[in-house]
Symmetry: C2
Subunit: 156 residues, 2 copies
């Protein structure tokens, strides 16, 4: 299975880099995993933030690739338990798609049009976390999903 | 305001320690913050896990102190947005309590009786995260709460 995470901006903090690298290493035995970083557009005001998000959405779309299932991370999206998330990953893995693409927006969020066009909008929490931390939360849940599928579906 | 986090077990990973230290440093200008670590009881089976949780609950109770508001972290608890969480912190800060105590269980969770006796059960996500990661998520939300309160209530 191919999983791509398209994320805005670079991770700056050293501890976040270490944590993300650790989880990438843990996930890779289970799937082909790729993180694609897209540069954040500069924002000078609230009005320009929506314009920046549009440009970012265009750049994200160019990275998605054909026959992909697009999951937009969105605080107002659907919340799933880890078990439900694992089932979703399992269903997608056997659906003949090229890849599942998770998209994490910038510090100002994701373009509304992009969110609407996504195949699924996933909320990891009602609480707001930074988009950089969301990347780590997502990797942790992907790792947990593979562990759940491996123990409960494949090994039992 | 006094905030105490009672958490089971020690943080092992270096990157988690760095992240937690970073957020403790950021939170301390806003409140008196203390993390109290309670040793995890060894668990050998599912039956003994509930017994271990009972012993852990007893040790947790000894650390709580009088006139405290106890928040048990519980995946089945109430989910709040960051803004709602900030409002709750603000209300508790002006309620004349000695302290607000957040309790994060061990890898097998928190004792059912303890959860029932808590003043509030908070869920940070429907997804399962490790109890160690939950500690970092909580500190991040506390920091965000103080930032929200500082900008919106104190400075405006």
């Amino acid at each position: 299975m191919n999983i791509k995470v398209i994320a805005l901006g670079k991770i700056k903090e050293k501890y976040m880099k270490s944590a993300i690298d650790e989880f990438l290493k843990r996930i890779r035995p289970y799937c082909s995993m790729q993180i694609v970083e897209v540069q954040e557009e500069p924002v000078y005001s609230d009005v320009l933030a929506s314009h920046a998000r549009e440009i970012e959405a265009k750049k994200i779309r160019e990275k998605i690739g054909s026959n992909s299932f697009v999951v937009a991370l969105d605080i107002d999206g659907v919340e799933l338990s880890s078990e439900e998330f694992a089932k979703k990953i399992d269903a997608l893995a056997s659906s003949g798609l090229n890849s599942v693409v998770f998209v994490i927006g910038s510090s100002t969020g994701l373009d509304d049009g992009f969110k609407k066009s996504a195949d699924f909008r996933l909320s990891m929490s009602k609480m707001t976390f930074t988009h950089q931390f969301a990347r780590l939360m997502l990797l942790k849940q992907l790792y947990r999903a593979f562990k759940i599928l491996n123990n409960e579906t494949y090994h039992k």
